[in-house]
Every structure is written in C-alpha cells, then in structure tokens.
C-alpha cells in the first residue's frame, strides 16, 4: 500500500479482555517496529522485526504483550488480560532496511475501561 496501515483506529475494551492490533507495513519494507505513546511515558519502543531474524522483544513491558509477523509482512500485536495502564496509542512503523528512515502508521488508540 501507499503507507503503513493500522487497524482498528480506535479500540475500547474492558479490563481483563484480550486485544489484537494489526499493522500492514509498506510493501517491500523488511523492518517493522511497534511503539507505544502514552501521556506519562512518551514514545516507547516495544518490538522490532527484521526479515526472518528473531525479533527484538526488549521493549515489551510484560509477558502479557506479544507480537508476530507473518510471512514477513503483516504484524499483529496482542495484549492479553488488558489493564488500565495499557491505555495508549500504539504506533507501527516500517523501514525499507534496518536502521533506515521509519515511516509511521496513524496508530491505534486503545482505551481500557
């Protein structure tokens, strides 16, 4: 596609429910990143995928968070047993190569009630 696409754009869920957030990167981009933007913590790195290499999961805040990237393209970020502190905007970015310019999607605004 023309840009990084994220869905849904907004998600409201109840505490304790699981949620899945989707990212469709720019076609041909090998690197994919997830970040989180919240009022208290600013923009934080979560996880990074590069081709078929093992992902860098060093930014995931807890084991309730996981992500996968199928076929080197679409990625899904899953948050299990959501908590109120998970409320944030989740941003996905892709890059044509590792360490290159990162292009961001519009984000998914997650609200946990």
């Amino acid at each position: 596609g023309a840009g990084v696409s994220q869905s849904p754009s907004n998600k409201v869920t109840e505490k304790g429910k699981d949620v899945e957030l989707r990212c469709d990167p720019i076609s041909g981009h090998t690197a994919l990143y997830w970040y989180r933007q919240s009022l208290g913590q600013g923009l934080e790195f979560l996880i990074y995928f590069q081709g078929n290499s093992a992902p860098d999961k060093s930014g995931l805040p807890s084991d309730r968070f996981s992500a996968e990237r199928t076929g080197g393209s679409v990625s899904t970020l899953t948050i299990q047993r959501t908590q109120q502190e998970d409320s944030a905007v989740y941003l996905c970015a892709s890059s044509p190569l590792a360490g290159g310019i990162q292009y961001f999607g519009a984000g998914t605004r997650l609200s946990v009630l």
């Binding site: 990143y33 600013g42 790195f45 590069q50 890059s95 590792a98 310019i101 519009a106 984000g107």
Partner: protein, 110 residues
C-alpha cells in the same frame, strides 16, 4: 540507557517567525531522525540526519555527532507547522530501535 533531551518543551510563534529546536543526546548514535506529529497524531519523518546539514524547503537540520546534539530550524513559520516535533536516536548498541525525546510542542498563531 541513552538520554534524549529536547528544548524548549513548548514554543509559541507568530506566523512568519523563525525558530530553532534543539536535541541533546547522552551517547554515540548510529542515526538521528526528526519527526513532526500533526494535531491528528500522525508522525511524519522530516529528516534522517546522523551528521551534517540537510535542508527541505523552510526546514533544515544540523547534527553535530561529536558534540551530541542536533538542531532543527523552521523559517517563516506557518500555522500548518503546529504540532509536536520529536527527535529520535538509534543508539550504537541497539537493534535499530529509536529512542525518542519528549518533544517540543509548537503552536504557530496566525
């Protein structure tokens, strides 16, 4: 870990004015990127600038890697320049992830 500090945190300009935003970082980096987040939340990459100077229209940026800072210049500001400007660095020891500063919130008044 690396610290990224941006100044000023907030800036109000009259349309047509010039401004300089600063980004300081505490350790060596592989690259540095400047982003603009518009009022709708979209992050747009402005510059990929690990060192040197680049210009794009009314915007230019300079990174002095040896002194660990970068500057973003906005000339003849327009109301559409409003939003938050982020500096982000890729630390030398990282796997290409970006560490973001806390941003400079800019409001350009007509």
């Amino acid at each position: 870990g690396i610290q990224v500090e941006q100044s000023p945190p907030d800036l109000i300009l009259q349309e047509g004015a010039n401004s300089t935003l600063r980004c300081n970082f505490s350790d060596s980096v592989n690259n540095l990127q400047w982003f603009h987040q518009n009022p709708w939340g979209q992050l747009i990459n402005l510059f990929y600038i690990p060192s040197g100077t680049k210009q794009n229209g009314r915007l230019s940026a300079t990174t002095v890697a040896t002194e660990r800072y970068s500057l973003l210049y906005i000339s003849s500001s327009q109301t559409t320049d409003s939003g938050v400007y982020f500096c982000a660095v890729e630390p030398r020891d990282s796997s290409y992830k970006l560490i973001f500063g806390s941003g400079t919130r800019l409001l350009v008044r007509p």
